[in-house]
Symmetry: C2
Subunit: 92 residues, 2 copies
């Protein structure tokens, strides 16, 4: 593996796992007020399309990194939706 | 442009612009409490490395999408740091 491949691999790992501390913080605090659901939705759509693109081109690094991102971002959006509904119920 | 290229282009646009509504929300509300700075930092590092990877391979779509992401995510991290410092000062 040359230096370019190492940089590409690290880049893929970092952009894929970045959302994990955000999921952890949201689960721990049960607080999502300052997060934008539009951000999470567009990101989910984007990594979903990247996964489709990878499947069409049979490009495994693209499928793997974006497939994992799709699952993690979907989880984050689900946590957002659960907690923002809670906030609404609490204020009723 | 065939259907695969259209999907790839849309995927690139969506993952690049996704952070904009988050920046807008943070600027409007001046509230960043539930955002994870670790998430923003790892993401910034990741898109930064993707940009370096694109430069080495002279791959303009990678340079452009990740270069823009790097600037936007850097801006979001700066907004986070400004506002979380404000919160600390307010509680002193």
């Amino acid at each position: 593996m040359d230096i370019t491949e190492i940089i590409g691999t690290l880049a893929g790992i970092f952009t894929t796992i970045a959302i994990i501390p955000q999921i952890y913080k949201a689960l721990k605090t049960q607080e999502v007020k300052s997060i934008s659901p539009v951000f999470l939705s567009i990101l989910l759509l984007g990594v979903g399309l990247w996964t489709v693109y990878g499947i069409i081109k049979t490009d495994w690094p693209i499928i793997l990194t974006n497939g994992v991102s799709f699952v993690l971002n979907g989880l984050m959006l689900a946590i957002y939706l659960r907690n923002c509904n809670k906030d609404k119920e609490a204020s009723n």
